[in-house]
């Protein structure tokens, strides 16, 4: 572990990228690292599509009148934004890209337990994604990503079944990814890699997988019931036929609330890695951070009806779910405090990944605390279904998940591609994203409390200034997201070759060459050290030592 930064050799080494060439070597690969790159390309594509819809929504909201597009077009735009971002970006983004790439490397395995199922899950994702794109191009859906009944089953005449099938496929892909991770983490760890030595990134993915496996099937059956209801008028969700629309909401949120934790938990894992590395310290309270991930996963399943406080559930159910919701705040708080405490007496560097981690903390604190507002029954009645909710979940989903994802991508970019990204640009991008994000979404908290409902394409004129601020912020944010796309792509070809361990980070993934070979480890590693043994690693740094140049 304490070997100094490896010198990049003159001759090109064989790695997973240059081992084979050609389209089929990618499309038929079972290498977890190549599949991770396939996911990287596809989630980036869907992020781009979702982003375009977001921009359309923000542009329309620049003026109070509905002038840029028709009401129906706007409704489809926010629906497509939500569906694409939730099912095809946020849910797969960290697990399927970073998790796929890193879990075997972090636990010392040659691959995931079921490499072919891993590839299958990418194909399911692509099949679902193609359906989604097809649905989009041939008319789209206008129900909102929540497709509430009876609007979705009996009133809209847009392509619910196709979009539902797309989400179903993405869900199946997510289940298989989770299953693969669970089995891999249990069965494929290298000798000596005990549970208490697992990186927190792996713990977080284990917790995520629990939700993927136990939550996703419920949305699958719910989507099937919606489709069957549309086709055969079963009546299960339609009050005209004796059904109860609230049953749909219960089943939907039973998955879709835990799904929020599918999106945020892996990101928390990323943050644990970043903060430990750039503070040069073992994470504070390792056991608590690890177990709080599991805690979030479990408690996340018992709070779903807080999305339904005004939906017509009974007073008693509302009280129960409000009380339970506060419980989930505890493990989140534990994590935040431990991350902060980790920096105490650290040796902190401000490289781009750490800037993203700071950004994550700053935004997650706001997102988490505003969650408490929504859990309070008295406030929720006023702010639910307004822009307050929109702002809250964007602070978690975008401010949390996306910040952490970008931080992670920068952190592991040298390992993934074997190249260094341009540090200056990366720091600039982190700054722009942070500023743009706050400008976009902070005004929405105010907008929500003064009463602007969500999913409005025209609105009373007094809300305009706040909306203009938000749209201006969105433009900056969009720029902030474009920058990394450009310089990271650039660096794949022109970036400086990366040493094996540019950050002098702890963890098995940094002991192998950059980029790794197909089977990751030349020999099966034997782990004899604890996680985050930063006190045993010298902290020379690539950007000051420039090992490549020497």
């Amino acid at each position: 572990m304490s070997t100094p930064a490896a010198i990049v050799p003159a001759v090109e080494r064989e790695d997973y990228l240059n081992k084979e060439y050609g389209v089929w070597s990618w499309l038929l690969t079972v290498d977890h690292k190549r599949i991770a790159l396939l996911y990287l390309a596809s989630v980036t594509f869907f992020f781009f599509i979702g982003g375009i819809f977001a921009l359309l929504v923000r542009l329309e909201l620049l003026t109070p009148a509905g002038d840029l597009m028709q009401a129906d077009t706007y409704n489809k735009a926010f629906t497509m934004h939500g569906m694409v971002m939730v099912f095809f970006f946020l849910i797969p983004v960290v697990p399927a890209v970073l998790g796929n790439f890193l879990i075997p490397l972090m636990i010392g395995a040659k691959d995931l337990a079921f490499p072919r199922i891993n590839l299958l899950s990418w194909y399911l994702y692509i099949f679902g994604g193609s359906l989604m794109v097809h649905c989009m191009l041939t008319g789209g859906v206008d129900t909102g990503w929540t497709f509430y009944t009876p609007f979705s089953t009996a009133f809209t005449n847009t392509k619910i079944i196709e979009a539902g099938l797309a989400a179903f496929m993405a869900g199946f892909s997510s289940i298989l990814t989770g299953l693969n991770f669970i089995v891999t983490i249990h069965r494929m760890r290298a000798p000596g890699m005990t549970w208490s030595r697992l990186p927190l990134f792996v713990w977080a993915h284990y917790a995520t997988s629990i939700i993927q496996i136990l939550g996703t099937p419920v949305i699958a059956i719910t989507i099937l019931l919606v489709a069957a209801e549309r086709l055969f008028h079963l009546g299960v969700f339609d009050p005209k036929l004796g059904g109860d629309p609230l049953l749909f909401q219960h089943l939907f949120w039973f998955y879709s609330h835990p799904a929020v934790y599918i999106m945020i938990l892996p990101s928390m894992g990323v943050i644990s890695e970043l903060i430990a590395c750039f503070s040069r310290k073992r994470i504070f309270g390792y056991n608590f951070v690890a177990l709080s991930s599991i805690g979030i996963a479990v408690i996340g399943f018992i709070v779903w009806a807080h999305h339904m406080f005004v939906a017509g559930i009974s007073l008693y159910a509302a009280l129960i779910f409000s009380a339970l919701t506060y419980l989930v705040g505890v493990p989140s708080a534990i994590k935040t405090f431990n991350w902060t405490a980790t920096m105490y007496k650290g040796s902190i560097r401000y490289d781009a990944p750490m800037l993203y981690a700071f950004g994550f903390l700053g935004l997650f604190i706001v997102g988490g605390l505003t969650g408490l507002f929504l859990a309070a029954l008295g406030i929720d009645v006023h702010v639910t279904d307004t822009y307050f909710v929109v702002a809250h979940f964007h602070y978690i989903m975008v401010g949390g998940t996306l910040m952490a994802y970008l931080g992670g991508i920068h952190f592991w970019w040298p390992k993934i591609t074997g190249r260094l990204y341009p540090e200056g640009w990366a720091r600039l991008a982190a700054l722009i994203v942070f500023v743009g994000f706050n400008l976009t979404f902070f005004p929405q908290f105010i907008l929500g409390y003064v009463g602007m409902p969500r999913r409005y394409y025209q609105y009373p004129p007094e809300f305009q200034v706040l909306n203009i601020l938000s749209t201006a912020g969105a433009t900056i944010l969009g720029l902030g997201y474009l920058l990394p796309m450009i310089y990271l792509t650039w660096s794949m070809r022109y970036g400086k070759p990366a040493p094996d361990n540019p950050w002098h980070a702890a963890g098995l993934e940094w002991t192998v060459q950059s980029p790794p070979t197909t089977f990751n480890f030349p020999q099966e590693p034997v782990v004899t050290w604890e996680a985050y043994n930063y006190d045993e690693i010298d902290d020379v740094h690539p950007h000051e030592e420039a090992p490549v140049a020497r």
């Binding site: 249990h186 219960h250 399943f301 018992i302 008693y316 159910a317």
Partner: protein
């Protein structure tokens, strides 16, 4: 790992024994359905079904022979979260009429 610890020759007879129990339970559950047990008919049917399911899981699926707790934890977790779904939904549907 499954059932490698069991004696192989006797297990076939054991399986038949379990199978006979399952058949008998099927008979009992049909028979009990025609008895008037007031509100307990459903409970009896579900108890018998759960008993049958337990037999299948423990002996046919060799959960009992599984040497590690891990698989048992996953089985229990899935049942637990299914019950959470049903119980907390009922917390709403069951209390709508209270005033």
């Amino acid at each position: 790992m499954s059932d490698q610890h069991e004696e192989h020759s006797s297990s076939l007879g054991f399986y038949v024994g379990i199978w006979i129990t399952l058949m008998v339970c099927t008979g009992i559950t049909v028979w009990a359905a025609f008895l008037d047990l007031h509100q307990f008919n459903a409970a009896v049917a579900l108890i018998i079904a759960t008993f049958k399911a337990t037999l299948v899981v423990l002996f046919f699926m060799h959960l009992r022979g599984a040497g590690e707790r891990l698989i048992k934890v996953w089985v229990i977790a899935s049942i637990f979260f299914m019950l959470v779904l049903i119980a907390l939904s009922m917390a709403d549907f069951g209390t709508r009429l209270w005033s």
